[in-house]
Symmetry: C2
Subunit: 197 residues, 2 copies
DNA sequence: GTGCATCAATGAACGATGTTCAATATGCTT
DNA sequence: AAGCATATTGAACATCGTTCATTGATGCAC
């Protein structure tokens, strides 16, 4: 029983993350429990705490995996040269991913660790990579001397996309318009605004 | 035992909501517990369940109160006629409120009821009122025949603001820029984009 | 092969959680 | 004064996150 070494520490972590993601995808972030995850991977609670500091740690790793999957999905297609086309493509693929895995993405949005500690660098980097994609897409609209403005606008765009997907999922405020139309409106209008600077 | 007419049902609800808000403001959404709220208002758990269906119900009412407070704060100042000035004013007051009560606003963002039931109409209306403010602000940029576009853009703007405040609070992705600069960038650029239609 | 030290895995135990509901205390009516 | 209606209670239940002494499988020394 003890010391099975059926799986390495890394394998255990991966299995637990996938089991947690399956639970979250089905019934939401709050349905993730230590005992539930342990049961689903064929181990007991104690083992989970050998691999992760606590449940929040596991959830963070789960969310990191979701962000990795999002990044992979968004970069699967080539990125066009024209800023507006590039951005629209990124945004639509982003939306497609979120729509396909709504509860998984909700888990990323909802999650707030019990201790108010800020997210570790390795986690923040996952988000930064996504912002960077947007920054690259709009790079042609800025001169090399405007690096700060380029970065700021990329962050604003990413935040706007984030908010749009967050609200388009849950609320029903924009009844007439499909999410794609909202995304396109955002990208077109914002890019037009950038060009008009 | 507390005398049964010390407080009306409405008073009890108000006290519980305020107690929950105090807990959330100090230690976050997850620090709200039935026993904790009950203790703080001088009653026991059972009484809480006479007033609210369950904890999620209480949290929803707490978030509704937060949105009411936000609406009151945002509309406390007169709204200017010029779309950009009006929108910038709304956005800045929005940001001021969120910055002053970060954990309370986080509770609005993070909250997802256990049962995946959609938010009731009376709750969604609270958000809709805020979107309406934005729609009124940009009304002059649209002809009467473009009601759909006006509504869509108001929703996009609100979502963008929402995302910006959500991310500006937690992440540290935009290190150089204060939140106000991000808000102004968003408003200016988007309004410029609308004018360039 | 044998023995043993190591340590991954266990699962009982703890305090706290959300929620229920029979029992009870209280105010109002008659 | 008696009785009714009901607001309030708090014990009880299942489940939660987390800890840690115990256990037994494993790899290594010999």
């Amino acid at each position: 029983m003890a010391r099975r070494s059926d799986h390495s520490r890394e394998q255990l972590a991966k299995m637990a993350i996938e089991a947690a993601a399956a639970l979250a995808a089905r019934d939401g972030l709050r349905s993730i429990t230590a005992r539930g995850v342990a049961r689903d991977i064929g181990y007991t609670v104690g083992t989970l705490y050998n691999v992760f500091d606590n449940l929040d740690d596991l959830v963070r790793h789960m969310n990191a995996a979701t962000m990795d999957a999002l990044y992979a999905h968004v970069t699967a297609a080539p990125i066009e040269a024209d800023p507006e086309k590039a951005l629209r493509g990124l945004a639509r693929r982003y939306l497609a991913f979120v729509s396909a895995q709504p509860r998984l993405w909700s888990a990323v949005i909802e999650f707030e660790p019990q201790d108010g500690a800020p997210a570790p660098d390795w986690y923040r980097h996952k988000a930064q990579r996504l912002v960077q994609l947007g920054e690259d897409a709009i790079a042609d609209l800025f001169s090399p001397r405007e690096a700060a403005a380029r970065r700021r606008n990329a962050f604003v765009l990413w935040s706007a996309l984030y908010g749009l997907t967050a609200l388009a999922q849950t609320t029903n405020l924009a009844e007439g318009d499909p999410p794609t139309a909202l995304i396109d409106t955002l990208v077109s209008t914002y890019i037009a605004g950038l060009k008009a600077r």
